[in-house]
Symmetry: C2
Subunit: 370 residues, 2 copies
């Protein structure tokens, strides 16, 4: 199964003509999941190779405007471009994010009279008290379940922290298990871990031929890990006819955060194929970055290292850093310097560093069989 | 005084890479007033010659997302680019729009923990019942004054309709009187009339010389329309020394609407220098346009004609109409056809037609003295 990540916005604080506000899409065989949705994300989507109508799930890392203000408009535009055929049973768009997100959508869609052609559901993550410094606390009425649901809203869950694993189980389907973990920023912030299930190895056709097995239901049972008994009475174990299993890939997407990493993040993100982490400001601005709840390349590198990630992708750059293609020689605030800083911190670790840019698509290749 | 209008977004329904969502700026000697603020307006501002920090007033014609979703982000970005010097007494940004706008900003800024460095105030226009078909009615709790003000919010007014004139007085200052008028769309919609005060004519320097008058306080009193008595006892009337007064300019900006025009709009917009009106779809799609509460070029032309406007500017085009610069020969949905349709409807009327495009700046020249 192909899998890739496309960055739609790699700028922090606000969108600009050369860097969109935060948004990226994880794509797996036509299914698109959107992570964060800053203002202008729908326009960035139109500029990209992706199709907004394919977005089936949305994940919001935290309730800052540069990660959220594009969501109501995106939902409206997807709806405008949806076939209004009432026969078609449209799938519910699941939206995951911190407490307060449901009220935000209810009010923005409600006050603007926005009717969607598809249902949506908001599943809220319950932050812990230590994630909210005083300034980041929402008043009760902002998060309260006041008023009726939006006409297209379906009841969503409140997802509490699983204290023993220090993480949140968002959902599990046939292909993936998706969890969230706590981050520490000025307001409650979360990261997301997308873990693909391991896949059975390929059928050993030579062995199957020898056993006289032909494609059919027995194949499926063996692939699913069951033993089968042949007419001859011989028991065939899956391991007899299957190559070694292919480990699932792991993609970890961090929301805005400063250095502190919880236990949950550390164990959940262990061995990530791709770890996507913010690097708002260069190492030389560490104090300012931390003051604002952000990270430097060195801090992002430390996280990647602690998680034994294979690849670290930096994004969420201050708008002072122009994309490399617009950078003039000798100009200050060169974004490639951020990459150099992360590489310096990761030397000899084997972690590869990539600098995200708007519209960069990063393939996530299958792992080798164990 | 120079005065011009810059279009930041001329597309309807949603922003696209070739047409921003609704937004335009009226500029008068450095002061900028923003009319509507669709998603992406802040990025369009950055692409333009205008400076977001100059925006002192915002007017929202109606609460549809393509006219509003850019406002919270724009306010945040203006604030980020504001000098945080606490000594500086920052002016309050006045925001005018329909009932419900205050709650929208309170919730979007509140939930995202957006602190602004300047105060703002929302003045709400009270729509009349006939402006709200059933689907466009807001529930009580959406417009109720629930909860505390946002920390940077200053109490705003509720502006009722002045029934006798069928319009709303928003404010009057030394240079302008600004009123709103009712429009009929799927939700309560408003237009805005910016009327510049008449200005005294130029001083007749020859006459002043003859009278022995030198620049000083007497000049000011004569300019302000007072008579003055010279030492010789001679009474000088303003008309003795002033050229004829220069009539103030009038700019009328219509929100989304379908053909119906109230009495207020008609008399308020009479003789407008520039009348800016939506033309979402071509004449051949009149039924669809009206169904959605929108206008065709012919309908916009009828309004301009009824108001005896000097210039009609069309904007708010369906995204099916690409800008002329991107139009290929023989392609359907040519935006210049919309201009032709309006011109056809206005032939012999003397009303000039202009097609707005993103980033078009339209000077509004001084009128000739009466």
């Amino acid at each position: 199964m192909t899998m890739d990540v496309t960055f739609l916005g790699t700028g922090s604080a606000y969108p600009s003509p050369h860097r969109g506000a935060s948004a990226l899409v994880l794509r797996t065989e036509g299914d698109c999941w959107l992570f964060d949705c800053g203002e202008g994300t729908q326009t960035q989507l139109m500029r990209s190779q992706l199709r907004a109508g394919r977005i089936s799930k949305v994940f919001i890392s935290h309730l800052h405007g540069d990660h959220l203000f594009g969501l109501p408009g995106l939902l409206c535009t997807i709806s405008l471009n949806t076939n209004p055929d009432p026969q078609q049973n449209l799938n519910c768009v699941d939206i995951y994010g911190p407490r307060g997100l449901r009220h935000f959508l209810r009010v923005t869609l409600g006050l603007t009279g926005s009717q969607l052609l598809f249902p949506y559901s908001v599943h809220e993550l319950e932050p812990t008290a230590d994630q909210s410094p005083e300034e980041g606390q929402l008043s009760l009425e902002m998060t309260a379940e006041s008023g009726p649901l939006h006409p297209q809203e379906r009841p969503g869950r409140i997802i509490p922290l699983d204290v023993s694993s220090d993480c949140y189980l968002l959902f599990e389907d046939k292909k993936f298990v998706v969890k969230a973990f706590r981050l520490f920023h000025r307001v409650p912030s979360f990261g997301f871990c997308i873990q693909e299930h391991d896949r059975p190895g390929r059928m050993k056709t030579e062995v199957l031929k020898e056993l006289g097995l032909k494609p059919g239901p027995l194949y499926g049972r063996l692939k699913a890990g069951e033993s089968v008994t042949l007419e001859s009475g011989r028991v065939v174990l899956p391991t007899d006819v299957l190559d070694e299993s292919i480990p699932g890939r792991k993609v970890c997407i961090f929301g805005d955060c400063s250095s502190v990493l919880g236990e949950g993040a550390l164990s959940l993100c262990h061995g990530a194929d791709v770890l996507i982490h913010e690097a708002t400001l260069g190492n030389e601005h560490r104090e300012k970055a931390v003051d604002h709840g952000h990270s430097t390349p060195e801090m992002a590198a430390a996280v990647a290292c602690a998680c034994c990630a294979r690849k670290l992708v930096l994004y969420h750059f201050s708008q002072r850093y122009k994309p490399s293609s617009l950078q003039k020689e000798g100009e200050e605030d060169d974004v490639s310097e951020l990459k150099r800083q992360a590489e310096e911190a990761l030397q000899d670790s084997g972690v590869e560093v990539t600098l995200a840019e708007d519209f960069l698509t990063l393939p996530i290749p299958l792992r080798r069989p164990r």
